[in-house]
Symmetry: D2
Subunit: 110 residues, 4 copies
């Protein structure tokens, strides 16, 4: 959980809050906590022998929620890491793009 | 959570273990607990600004694990509910198959 | 292509064409011809250096069209072959369901 | 790689060699022709009432082939259009990345 004081932990020498690439950490954490809750809910459904189709519906919802988080993070990544590497150019840019392409392929195929 | 005593709750009058359609509840619960742990792990990765590509790799793994659970449950469902309904025949069989088809479509598209 | 004489090979007592499990052959053939046309269209787009994003949009549309055909065929299959096997019961029913489950898994993962 | 002099190679006697972003047009065209052939093959299978599971296997193979083409084109796109836009920077870079993200989301969800 994210309970630390942002002023204490993220202020760098240049004073900006959060030195990471993730655009809206709290929103992601909220979505991931919800996904964690769905995983817990699924255990309850299995334990209680809930109707299979209802369990599958929950799994589809959870998969979509996960995909949506992944696409958001990928977007942030392209807009920060990849963009900066591209501006710097050279081998670093190429390596970052290759890495992003591989991650996209895993998402498309998973 | 799975806290009940199996000896107490699953032995029916006909003596078989588990009266539900799910073939191996404990195995599913174990997999779902692992998925829940992955969801918690993702929150830690976001909080700690872990490298985006590593987070995406984790999400792909989690999505695959979820899909795999869904396919297992669907298999159980086809082998129990749908098979029984099919044997009974008539409108019930048709309804069960339609329902299964809709669930499959959601899985394929999610 | 469909060049056989329907009157000779498919006419049943109720006059409908097709003795197979596929519910509406002509509709499937029409959709598959459209998909074939999309594949040809993609070649034109690549040859003409059309904008990549537009090509990707076409591929997504084509993938969705293919998935939709697959889900329709699977539905027909469950309602005919699997239903009949289930009614017959025994090893045949089990084998058909296992086969269907494997096909579903390939669709979900592809 | 694109190492030829653009002025020299775009209007060659054998038709132009390619001034676009696509890294290996002939390879893509070959793959798309194969996919077109698969779409034609599927029509034959439906016409001949081939076994449903075999048709579904073909569709899964075709979907994977299409996905693979899409991932290749996306890779080319990121390495050319997006990289160039990123180097130029500003609103153009942002717009290109947004467009690429939307295309990736369509691929992941299709």
């Amino acid at each position: 959980m994210h309970e630390s004081d942002p002023a204490e932990t993220h202020d760098g020498p240049h004073g900006y809050i959060s030195n990471g690439y993730i655009s809206n950490k709290d929103a992601y954490l909220k979505r991931l906590r919800r996904i964690e809750g769905q995983a817990r809910g699924l255990q309850g459904m299995v334990t209680d022998d809930k109707y299979c189709i209802d369990i599958l519906t929950q799994i589809s919802a959870m998969t979509s929620a996960l995909e949506s988080v992944a696409l958001g993070l990928l977007d942030d990544h392209l807009n920060h890491c990849v963009l900066h590497a591209a501006m710097a150019g050279g081998a670093e840019a190429e390596a970052k793009l290759q890495e992003a392409s591989a991650a996209i392929a895993r998402l498309v195929r998973s």
